[in-house]
């Protein structure tokens, strides 16, 4: 177990190192016009040279990379080009928003997806199964930005027009202002992010449960007179969870993308919206900071998922 953890962590570090190289290459090497962008159209060659020197862009590449990594390791991701705010501060401000959105949505989609999947699998071909499967397919095919807009149109705009102003059009209320406003502002974003993924998990759970329920040991358990409920939840679901955990690990990377879109649609000031703004402004330190931060988060979360996997399925530990 300890060895598994070590190997996995080393792999994660290699992954992070490679990502840092790629990010560096993409944003420092490819565009040679950072200074030009910063200096504006009327920049004189002297201004550009000065900017290059200030940003260290005149150093040899390997030196730039070394100082980039060195600083990043010390928690220094640089300052944004426009307001000279430390990138770490910008990220720190945005993280609670994104975390609220992502964790809430993940909980909703896992609960919803697994429950629906179990219902479908335990009553195959029933009306419930068919409608849940159809629902799942519908939401699975739905781009999240479209779902967000549809929810905004009906649940915010139409309801408010009809005199029921239950939902805000967007924005964020921190937990410090109370749980009520916090939840209220996040309900539609959560739904947007969760429904699309819940659909995928319904399909996954259904397939995986159907497989497990047809196995011999489940039949044996039934023939021993163990109650159906106990068979389903105690015996079958545990085995069926393994592929779901795997998928969850893979989806963590996708979650970042979903967050980006959802935050844009509902104007939530999280990492996603911050990144999009930074991108439109070509604010490189912020872009790199957020990409690195998000990648690290995904890698760490993946290690945690692998650990959960090893707990669920002891065979993994051997390989």
């Amino acid at each position: 177990m300890v060895r598994f953890l070590i190997v996995r962590t080393l792999t994660g570090l290699v992954v992070l190192w490679l990502i840092s190289m790629s990010v560096f290459a993409l944003f420092y090497v490819v565009p040679s016009n950072v200074a030009r962008t910063l200096g504006g159209r009327q920049a004189t060659p002297e201004t550009i040279a000065a900017i290059n020197e200030r940003l260290g862009l005149d150093e040899p590449l390997w030196k730039q990379y070394a100082s980039f990594v060195g600083d990043a390791l010390q928690g220094d991701l640089g300052y944004d080009y426009y307001h000279q705010v430390p990138v770490t501060t910008i990220i720190a401000q945005a993280v609670p928003v994104t975390l609220s959105l992502a964790v809430g949505a993940a909980v909703i989609w896992l609960v919803l997806g697994i429950t629906n999947g179990v219902i479908s699998a335990t009553h195959p071909r029933s009306l419930a199964d068919r409608s849940l499967t159809a629902f799942a397919l519908f939401f699975y095919s739905m781009p999240s930005f479209l779902l967000g807009l549809v929810l905004l149109y009906f649940l915010y705009f139409k309801l408010t027009q009809a005199g029921y102003a239950w939902f805000p059009p967007g924005g964020y209320a921190p937990l410090s202002e109370g749980v009520g406003p916090w939840v209220n502002h996040l309900l539609l974003p959560w739904a947007t992010l969760a429904l699309v993924s819940a659909a995928a998990y319904t399909r996954l759970t259904r397939g995986s449960m159907l497989d497990v329920l047809s196995e011999d040991y489940i039949r044996t358990a039934r023939s021993k007179g163990i109650s159906e409920r106990r068979v389903t939840y105690r015996h079958a679901l545990r085995s069926a969870l393994t592929p779901i955990v795997t998928q969850f690990g893979i989806d963590l990377g996708q979650l970042v993308g979903g967050v980006l879109v959802t935050e844009t649609v509902f104007s939530l000031p999280g990492l996603g919206q911050t990144a999009i703004i930074a991108i439109t402004q070509q604010d490189l330190p912020v872009i790199i900071g957020i990409v690195l931060f998000a990648s690290t988060a995904v890698v760490v979360a993946n290690i945690l998922v692998d650990l959960a996997y090893a707990v669920l399925d002891p065979r993994v530990r051997i390989s």
């Binding site: 060895r3 070590i6 190997v7 051997i318």
Partner: protein
């Protein structure tokens, strides 16, 4: 039993010289090296002379299929040499092996696994021609259909898929594929053990007929002694990666020296009920030990009813027992005398009682 036993003066067509094959086993350490080694084949010498059939017999897991794959150069050997037609082929590269592939072919055990399910039979059998750039177009098709005839398949089924055939028919496809290049040597890796007993005889007879017709040399691998008796001139018995006894069919069946050979023979079904009743049944106790950590000395000692203290210490050499012909060799410190029965040899040495209705 088609060809006469070759004289010892002839050059072997296929020869293993102290061949060993090890596999990494167990987990890998942090540095990526295997923590344990499985000794699948351990310094085996074997000669197959032109025109004869050598039967290689042993329990599942004794390394006989691994040896076959080493001899066919499907695996690289860990140590030792493989000779073909008087030439050391141990270290030939894949490219250098290509011309030799026309001379050595393999018939595989699993008629389901050995045929690509996505390809038509004609293309499977014709694969050899495609790989060696031999016949093309209509000529290739004619050759393939000729081969199908030869092995008793309907050539009209040229365009069918393996799934359309029964196990016996699939094995005939495998035979046709092996014959395509007109090889001199065919290694048959348990060619009938996956088939129904009723089909086994048909395929065996086909192999024997083909040997007559085409002058083939066979190395015939099986765990079934009755099959070997049917097809072989000489027999080598393997146990845990080593050859423990080798000789002509008569030597082995009538004058087995090694207790392991004797035990295998005693498990053979006999058509005559009187003989069956009077014959001793020896049930080997225990399972085949792990080849990762084989027993010391003679590998067979933990299961051997005749085992004594010295058997633990040193590996017995494969040599003729006094009075045996030079080509009947046995690796045993305490070989059986002629006609000696295994049970009477050393009484009270822990042989399980004969079982009624043994399978």
């Amino acid at each position: 039993m088609t060809a006469s036993t070759a004289g010892s003066t002839a050059t072997p067509l296929l020869e293993a010289r102290a061949v060993s094959k090890e596999f990494p086993a167990g987990g890998t350490s942090l540095t990526g090296r295997a923590t344990e080694v499985l000794h699948a084949v351990d310094r085996v010498d074997l000669e197959v002379f032109p025109g004869e059939t050598v039967g290689l017999v042993g329990e599942t897991g004794c390394g006989k299929s691994t040896l076959a794959r080493c001899l066919a150069r499907l695996y690289d050997v860990t140590a030792g040499e493989v000779w073909f037609d008087g030439r050391d082929v141990t270290h030939l590269s894949r490219r250098e092996m290509r011309p030799l592939r026309r001379d050595i072919q393999v018939i595989f055990q699993d008629p389901y696994g050995s045929l690509n399910p996505r390809r038509r039979v004609g293309s499977i059998i014709g694969d050899a021609f495609a790989i060696h750039d031999l016949e093309k177009g209509a000529a290739r098709k004619a050759r393939v259909q000729e081969l199908m005839e030869l092995v008793g398949l309907n050539p009209e089924h040229y365009n069918r898929f393996p799934a359309d055939f029964s196990g016996g028919q699939r094995q005939r496809i495998g035979v046709a594929r092996a014959l395509a290049l007109r090889p001199r040597m065919i290694i048959c890796d348990e060619p009938v053990s996956a088939l129904d007993v009723s089909i086994q005889a048909q395929v065996l007879n086909l192999l024997i007929d083909l040997q007559d017709e085409l002058g083939l040399t066979y190395l015939f691998i099986t765990h079934d002694l009755s099959v070997v008796r049917h097809v072989s001139n000489r027999i080598a018995v393997m146990y845990l990666g080593r050859v423990v006894e080798q000789g002509t069919v008569e030597d082995i069946f009538d004058g087995a020296r090694h207790p392991y050979t004797k035990a295998l023979l005693s498990a053979l079904p006999t058509p005559d009920p009187d003989v069956a009743d009077s014959r001793e049944h020896v049930v080997l106790s225990g399972d085949l030990p792990s080849a990762v950590d084989p027993p010391s000395g003679c590998h067979f000692h933990p299961r051997c009813p005749r085992a004594r203290a010295d058997c633990h210490e040193q590996q017995p050499p494969l040599e003729p027992v006094d009075g045996d012909p030079v080509d009947h060799t046995t690796a045993c410190w305490h070989p059986l005398a002629h006609g000696e029965s295994l049970t009477s040899a050393v009484p009270g040495l822990g042989i399980p009682a004969p079982e009624e209705g043994e399978p």
